[in-house]
Amino acid sequence: MIVELGHFTLLLALLVAGLQMVLPLVGAQKNWVPWMAVGAPAAIAQAVLIMFSFCALTYAFVTSDFSVRLVALNSHTLKPMLYKVTGVWGNHEGSMLLWCLILALFGALVALFGGNLPERLKARVLAVQAAVGVAFLSFLIFTSNPFLRLAQPPMNGQDLNPLLQDPGLAFHPPFLYLGYVGLSMSFSFAVAALIEGRVDAAWGRWVRPWTLLAWLNLTIGIALGSWWAYYELGWGGFWFWDPVENASFMPWLIAAALLHSAIVVEKREALKSWTILLAILAFGFSLIGAFIVRSGVLTSVHAFANDPERGVYLLAITGVFMGGALTLYAVRASEMQAKGVFSTASRESALVLNNVLLAVSTFVVFIGTIWPLVAEMAFDRKVSVGPPFFDAAFTPFMVLLALLLPVGSILPWKRAKVGKALRPLWLALVAAFIVFALVWTVQTGRTLLAPVGALLGSWLVIGALADLWVRTGRGDFASKLSRAWRLPRADWGRVVAHMGFGVTIFGIAALLAWEIEDVRTASIGDEFRVGNYDVTLVDVREVQGPNYISTMAEIRLQRGSEVAVLTPESRFYPVAGMPTTEAAIDNGVFRDLYVVIGDEQADGSWAVRTFIKPFANWIWAGAIIMAIGGTLSLTDRRFRVAAGAARTKARVPAE
């Protein structure tokens, strides 16, 4: 009964979204206030209805109602409760419902907290958001309905998939969707502004928090996925340039560009049409990502027939929204007149360079991702594009970005006296080169990768500190400190996020350059040396788990007085008929010890793989620091107070 109610409210939500799409839009055009006023309550109603559907589906999963097809396919009575709940979005239909829910929640947030938006803009934003909602709700209901019943329910569910039962993976999708779908908000603001024919500083201020929110969730989502791959795949890879990963990385890069260009719109009323274009493209990449992941067209070039109906539908959604928005853009973009004037040496110019670099990096990822498809369809060449291409083609732009970033963020707006502006950075540059030399000497005779990574990382971190130093003005240290405390949160956000970027860069470079790997066979009691560690295979035994059989090794790693005893496993899950590798990791600030146990050899010894992974955790720590920076920036008071102050000015009719 509850499931049917959930199904019903989903259909109702589609109806409400339809109304929300049409009425406010017409109302805004004709200046009919009651029609415009439909937007906000409709957005809230839509969110409540979908929330009910989502809860109904969750209820079906929690109570293991196997008469629901989706539950029968994706759950099992033996699953722990946490994973019964996360199982709701661990499949195509459920995750699409979550997508729609988040879409509607963002709309409702604008309805609830957008009190300072001009009525007409608000009506249009909600209408565009509802249009996206209509597209995805109908996609959900007509091609991937999660509420279908089975005529003959099975006794138990089919899936006790052990791999889904992992915290890293369980919470990876919601964050990712908050990011993907959050970009729909920037899109709605961009299209609404195009219909309105006006973009001003206030618009920049309204659109930025939404982009920031989307970007920081995307950061967390990507980091979670990468971290999961690191500990679960059994050899500690953290990024594979897989099409599915790229699908999440492209919106992240574009959103990062959008964040920065929206600042220029807000502060200087320049870069308007470019910012609008970015906002459209960012959501475009989200849609392309959804298409790539769900149609299976790119993960395997020959799998287009996997799910043609869904693929075609998603492609149509992408085509309609991108085509529509870009056409509107082509017609209206020329009306966006820039006002701000600035010299070439200024923060505006630096932010333009940032945008060029981020946009080109996105393009590298994009062309690399779709090239196998293009080459085969258009040129009849079957090629693969994998990590070696991306490493070579993508990295130079990131290095350039890292080099320019501290310079750009310290330049003042409008026009800079370069010598004076950059003076605080000299110290950072010298410090970074000292770090470079230090690392270079310590590692003697290996690749330049790690020293360069250390150079860039420390340049970014110290550069960010120099930025903070400048922001706190003149005076003694105490007065600087008290001023630092009172700086706007956005300044802190910028400094922290830039530092996080540096930490991640250093982590990646150090891990790739200094990783030590050892593969061997060892008998029980054997001792061998890996790096600076004495490793002993103490024991291997069979262990009966709750729903698996495990071959568990006990491996001891020792360096001086430091000892770690790790128990890597190789498990077999009889229900799913699936073997899994459970690496054992001793996490540390400066290194991870990572051991994997393999098969038993003919002579009774065991295959053992030992890794020493220096600074591995810095990669994700950097991502978390970036997300914290985003959060700090999001809580800046100008998004709450100044946005309200701009109200009177913005109320003046547009035309």
Binding site: P243, V383, F397
Partner: protein, 148 residues
């Protein structure tokens, strides 16, 4: 996203990529073999190199690479050999020839183009923007000039 990761994992059984019995005695050759393996695609996998993959075929290819190296092939010769047998699909970084030049050069060209456009934009931003529209007199004059 989950699905493709799961697919990987199903391939990633208890065994792991480079097995101890594959490793060459000569550490220099082994190092070269590992480096080469990272650029060779496991043909039956999704975007995995033979260095990472646990598939049977990946193992066969790893052994093949080592065999060629032991016989004294240079890195390029090994790659040429693999391409001649399996096609260029086996390379994870496509060769920069023919249409693939598009793949390799598109981004650098775009970057230079972007810099160019940015440069022009900066120049335009330096002074006050020109008046947005032509005055009526100017329009009339323009009509005169273009009508005949």
């Amino acid at each position: 996203m989950i699905r493709s990761f799961l697919f990987w994992l199903m391939l990633a059984g208890a065994a792991f990529a480079v097995e101890p019995d594959e490793i060459l005695d000569d550490p220099v050759l082994e190092e070269r073999a590992r480096e080469l393996s990272k650029g060779i695609r496991c043909l039956v996998c999704r975007n995995e190199s033979i260095d990472e993959s646990n598939a049977e075929l990946a193992r066969d290819l790893r052994l093949l690479v080592r065999e060629r190296l032991v016989e004294g092939d240079s890195d390029d010769e090994v790659i040429d050999y693999l391409v001649s047998r399996f096609g260029e699909y086996v390379l994870l970084a496509p060769r920069a020839d023919g249409v693939n030049l598009l793949l390799w050069w598109a981004a650098p060209v775009l970057f230079l183009g972007g810099l160019g456009i940015a440069g022009v934009y900066f120049r335009g931003r330096r002074e006050n923007p020109v008046p947005e529209e032509l005055s009526d007199a100017e329009k009339e004059r323009l009509n005169e000039l273009t009508s005949d």
